[in-house]
Amino acid sequence: SDSVYIYDEAGQAMIQQQKPWLREPHYFKSVRISALALLKMVVHARSGGTIEVMGIMQGKIEGDTIIVMDAFVLPVEGTETRVNAQADAYEYMVEYAQTNKTVGRLENVVGWYHSHPGYGCWLSGIDVNTQLQNQKYQEPFLAVVIDPTRTVSAGKVEIGAFRTYPEGYKPPDEQPSEYQTIPLNKIEDFGVHCKQYYPLDITYFKSSLDSHLLDLLWNKYWVNTLSSSPLLGNRDYVAGQVADLAEKLEHVENQLAHSGCVGTFFVPPHKKKEEESQLSKITKDSSKITVEQVHGLMSQVIKDALFNSISP
């Protein structure tokens, strides 16, 4: 199982020469991320709090899979508020990659990651541009997005891996990827660009040493499970979610009210269908938030029964 950690320099050089990804815009289908890289990226994303942070991933190619072996932080913040945040860190990136080679870390840079705190894993317009540039000059290159806030509330890592299509390429109709809530103030940015890229399947791997260390950690992990309160840690995020839901409800209500005034028989079926789909999304969002809240409450009640109800 540790063979993935051996780097075949000649093999990688050959792939670089053949450039199979040029033949097909959809060439890369999946990503494998090492436990180490995943942990480093999530910890870094969490450390940024509500500020978007950014880093670089190192790894290699295996067929149509990009393998991410490690990740490192870039001294850049606020990726969604600058045209091309990565440009600020080029010098650092180059120096880091070269220094790595001198110490025997031969993996090349294979992508970048950044965080979307609280608003889901997708590529914004700025991200699409950055990724298009990278895929033009630094192939093979992958874009990974992590949402640290939803990671805490959902209890699993919210992460997405994407590749952009070449400009002007018309993708075949995609099967809808897993549903995720997009906040109202981001929906436009999401909608305009969501056809310019596609998600890759993500799987993880770990070394035998990782397994051993994680097993040891697992022995202590039960303490975290019993002493955590998702309700407490995520108040701001949930409040933001409910506010976003209220805004969307008002939005749809106005539309329905508007279409209602010309009577339903004038509303073309696809328009009616579209409003229903928006309402059904809102319903889905509200039940998702509520289920997470109820889970949190259940754990509080269990903790209360376990640790408070014992009278001496």
Binding site: L231, S286, T290, V294, L297, D304, F307, N308, P312
Partner: protein
């Protein structure tokens, strides 16, 4: 020494007992139930 450890462990229970905790706990409980009701 083992028995002493166990008795000190038991003396830590219940984990917390204060009027303030009860208030906060019930507030959180009611908030979540209210959210469930509103979602319904």
């Amino acid at each position: 020494s083992l028995l002493r450890q166990i008795s000190s462990l038991l003396r830590r229970l219940p984990a917390i007992e204060s009027a303030k905790f009860q208030d906060d706990f019930l507030t959180e409980y009611n908030d979540t139930l209210l959210m469930t009701y509103l979602a319904m």
